[in-house]
Symmetry: C2
Subunit: 223 residues, 2 copies
């Protein structure tokens, strides 16, 4: 379960592409597997590690005291998350399915960034990417209709994880709903509408394998 290996350079370049210059510096890496549903870190916990999804998927969310949940982001293969500028996590993160992660000690990153401007630039870039996503998501949550939200979600997932024309969603309807600020029933209804319109189709009985039949029409719904 806990495979503490110092990854060879070939692995690193393959999985740390997003960190650019990081792949050329010596940083302690280790792999770790999380079972479906397992908590990776909790909100307000000290941020000891930064995580990269090797295989699987994760969700980051905030909770209100009465249980209402807002998922801020999904993390898919290749994504890096859990990077915090202050030393504290602002979300709880959980594995959506059985997931393999690469872990990097956070302090080693910020320490290297002190002298290596390329690493510093990478940290800023990653934070800026997260910021952009959050800004776009505010518009979605504040002003879009349920159909527009689901359309935007599908386009985002299509962009991030479609292989061979099929998008295999790792997350359930409730996760999607909590990401989009809706209920799972509303998400389900919106998907049914899109199916009826011939914009998408389901593969198999699982309802998680989606084929986009009419991307242009979906994009129209996004605005």
């Amino acid at each position: 379960m806990f495979v503490n290996l110092n990854a060879g350079p070939s692995n690193r370049s393959r999985f740390l592409g997003e960190l650019g210059s990081l792949s050329q510096t010596e940083i302690v890496l280790s792999e770790f597997k999380y079972r479906r549903g397992a908590e990776i870190f909790g909100e307000a916990e000290p941020a000891e590690y930064v995580y990269q999804v090797i295989d699987g998927a994760a969700r980051s969310y905030k909770l209100l005291s009465d249980g209402r949940r807002q998922i801020g982001a999904f993390h898919l293969a290749g994504d890096i998350f859990g990077l915090e500028n202050g030393g504290v996590h602002r979300f709880t993160a959980e594995a959506i399915v059985d997931t393999t992660m690469r872990l990097v000690k956070r302090v080693s990153l910020t320490h290297v960034a002190e002298s290596d401007t390329a690493v510093a630039r990478d940290l800023l870039n990653m934070t800026a990417i997260n910021l952009r996503h959050a800004e776009d998501h505010m518009l979605l949550l504040g002003r879009k209709t349920s159909l527009e939200r689901v359309a935007a979600f599908l386009l985002e997932m299509d962009h991030r994880l479609t292989a061979a024309g099929v998008m295999a969603l790792p997350m359930c309807r409730r996760d999607i709903a909590d990401y989009l600020g809706l209920t799972l029933e509303t998400v389900s209804r919106a998907l049914s509408v899109l199916e009826d319109k011939g914009i998408l189709g389901f593969l198999g009985q699982t309802q998680r394998q989606i084929v986009l039949l009419d991307r242009p029409k979906l994009a129209e719904l996004d605005l």
Copy 2:
């Protein structure tokens, strides 16, 4: 109207406190005044300057094609905004009232950051602060009720601009609504509810001067 002065060090230290180390480096600064309602920069425009509010207030927003608007943030005295990591603005910014800004050339910042790690850290910190705000706002927009949203807004403004127990809001109800993902009528009704509950009071007839009479009760509504 266009006062292009190289500010002296005393001014700088007073107004660039948030940029920490920046106040110790030579950076080209100039002042500029914007009339109420004037556009400061547009979404998707190249980001030439970074802005600091000296006096007044501004709003940053995104528009959908049919005019729906989501305000991502309000910028009050002392705030820095318009900082973009890529070279393009992600929001449109407008002056809410007549406003005086301090402008800094963006490229001069990123250039200095290449060699000065303290400046690089400041840029990362400011981006991280923006990210935190956006993350919290996603929770508000996705999961809070109208009363909770207005309560959270009042607490935020109270924290940022209350002087002598009175909070003088520069923005109108529509701005508040577009910030909170509501309509102006819903905001107005929520404020009336809070007034009826004895949680806040209005000063004068303008409806923009608010006194918080029961901060604890307001905080309860925030969760």
